[in-house]
Symmetry: D2
Subunit: 137 residues, 4 copies
């Protein structure tokens, strides 16, 4: 199943060349992951913070296929490619209409307390697994 | 009439104290104004850029009444308090439920070409005036 | 006495019009204040965070006199205009050579614990007062 | 030869967990590359913009080895690993003292006019090559 978010490109995202400044794409990937955890995994970042938990990014890769411009709307499509004991791999693509703009791979790790990786809590693992196995709408 | 936008507070907006970092409030006020010009005044920032026009901010004032936290949703309410020959005054308030968090006053100026203030184009002035005079829904 | 910081305008600060996007000016004013507290008041934001203290912004005003462009270097000059029981007023100006670009007034409040304003600790008050009363170099 | 820049971690870079928010690391990598082009390759981003040139990022990879905290100073070390006909590969590492925090690989492409890759101008190629071949100080 694919998790989707639409993000409108505003002044805030663009550089003097009028295209999205690449660090802003990662504000977008973080927002997509953040909303996924709240909506799908049943645990918002705010709730995690209160429990001294978090899902820091351990690794990422990105390919920028074509620039995105002010006023466009990007559709971010995120798939879960692997759920480990305490990690998760996401594959993200940003599309504008039928143009593929960006591909990102994110690896996040579930941590607790002083920052050591911990196994996913059972309820989060169950919710994420159910999403992975559901057919795309 | 009041122009409204909801903005969810995400990791991106928050500082190490877990509250909105004040420069991020101005990313929000810019976004509200940007969407107002596209939706109400009929001229997106992208369209203005193509015509070498813009609405830079000349002055602002802000009062921060109470902090906003990760996971909350802010309702931004924007009113037009004055439409000058080439300027516009906006009064914005950010609310979370019935808590008033931030008040901002923005003064923008319509410019063209090399940056000199110009009178508002007739169609923009008409659209903005119609919005100002309409009753709030 | 005037507290000075130079900030080079990079891609990160600029919008599609090639000029500083106004929320980035407030990233700069925050950086100037943050360095002032570390260097002059003897208390870094990191140290304050560890003690559950902070200096949130209560109010600001800004006038944007002329745009700043990619590649320029701004000199920020900050003066203390008032030291209250638990507040501080800063007057900032950004200059590029002999061009005055931005004027900002910031009001910060010292808070502790759950966010209630507290009187300045004696050592911070003494360091800030000494700076206010020193002649500008 | 290694290109070095020091960046102090300020409020601006940190998330509610008090550590650097990963999109801010890419504001840092962009700043390092931007200063490299100005100082080493003899062509600032501002000069490139005036000539309708640029060096957009085509690909990046990042590994986050350990978190960085408010108040720390990162030393960014950048090496040129490959200079192609119109591309350049950078290997960056962020260190805090003897702790290795982040590794990033950036691939940039020189473009002109409508965005098509172009061979590096001779003067830029010569300056970059001289830097690559120089021993580290």
């Amino acid at each position: 199943m694919i998790y989707r978010r639409h993000i409108q490109i505003e002044f805030n995202h663009c550089d003097p060349a009028g295209i999205v400044f690449y660090p802003r794409y990662f504000e977008m990937t973080n927002s997509v992951a953040e909303n996924f955890f709240r909506e799908v995994a049943g645990q918002s970042y705010a709730a995690m913070m209160r429990d001294l938990q978090g899902v820091p990014t351990a690794r990422l890769e990105a390919d920028f296929h074509a620039p995105s411009r002010l006023g466009e709307v990007l559709e971010w499509r995120m798939q879960l490619t692997r759920l480990g004991r305490s990690s998760i791999d996401f594959g993200l693509q940003a599309w504008c209409g039928d143009e593929h703009r960006v591909t990102v791979r994110l690896v996040l790790v579930f941590v607790e307390g002083l920052g050591a990786p911990k196994p996913w809590p059972n309820d989060m693992r169950a919710a994420i697994t159910a999403f992975m196995e559901a057919p795309d709408a």
